[in-house]
Amino acid sequence: MEDETHNSVLTDRFTRHLIVAMYQKSIEQSSEVRHFRARADSFFAAARDLSELEPTEEASGTHSYRPAVGLLAVHCCIALADAVLVATEGERGKRQDHAEAARRLDSLCTVHKIDRRGLKHFKWLLRNKNRFAYDNSRVEPAEFVDAKIKMEQFYAWVYEQFPKLAEGADDA
């Protein structure tokens, strides 16, 4: 039993080293990875700053930023997923099929035994993209808060599982 546990730890470490080696080179060489990371950061910062401006009470003449924050959160995570996919597989997700990016991340996690818990936040945001962008009903305060939290959770998960992605100065 102890041997099995030991072997499992070694396998995990080996897998981790493989993953790191696999995408370390890509990140150092790829301005594309940094481009998508910078784009994700831009959406993230905009969502964060807009959410600070959200009026606490609804009054005539004030605009709600809720749908905008929701949509920015979605696009932020799509861009960050693209950064991961370019770093690991050399190719971003398909532009018109964002669910494909989620599927690829899912399969990357399966193949390399990466903790996939953070993916559920990305999938939640993708499911709600049309809701934030096109639906004819209003976005409720709870949904807006959820979108921002899901964005932060997905961000935290990506850097937890793909720490090399954090390296290097930001693109100007």
Binding site: R117, G118, A156, Y159, L165, E167
Partner: protein, 160 residues
């Protein structure tokens, strides 16, 4: 014993950094391996603990904050900051802050940033940018990873 308001200001500085960085982990009064023999008042490790390090020294007065500059210039951290209460500048410290000369290191890129602590309504404290920190060419990714694995952050974004 540390000044009470300096200790209170850590929280304001933490929120200042949370507003500027991407899901950072924040630590108070810790020994950062990039600054030996000294505790850092506030340490922020960007991107959930694996990105750039930001170290901040907080003092009540501008003069005392500027006294920390030589230590910060020797530190290993891509971003370094001093913070002090607005209105505490004397003539000499004001001159240093206007010229900015002490905030640079000869022959190296990078500038120590300056944060102002302000007292707001109900005696709450806030932190504002006075001079943006510029990146020093001293990456600390390995240090950050090891540090965030072994230390409990005061502020951290969950992933689950």
């Amino acid at each position: 014993m540390r000044d009470r308001d300096e200790l209170r200001a850590r929280e304001a500085v933490a929120h200042f950094l949370i507003r500027r960085l991407m899901v950072p982990r924040i630590y108070f009064e810790v020994e950062w391996p990039g600054l030996p023999r000294r505790r850092v008042d506030v340490l922020a490790l960007d991107r959930n603990g694996v990105g750039d390090a930001h170290i901040v020294e907080i003092r009540r007065s501008a003069r005392h904050a500027l006294d920390s500059v030589p230590y910060l210039l020797e530190a290993r951290s891509p971003y370094r900051w001093i913070a002090f209460f607005r209105g505490t500048e004397d003539e000499q410290s004001l001159g240093s802050l206007v010229s900015q000369t002490p905030l640079y290191r000869d022959g190296q890129a990078g500038r120590i940033g300056v944060i102002e602590i302000v007292t707001m309504a109900f005696d709450d404290l806030g932190a504002n940018l006075r001079l943006a920190a510029e990146r020093f060419p001293t990456p600390t990714y390995e240090l950050a990873r090891d540090f965030s694995r072994s230390h409990q952050a005061v502020h951290q974004f969950g992933s689950d």
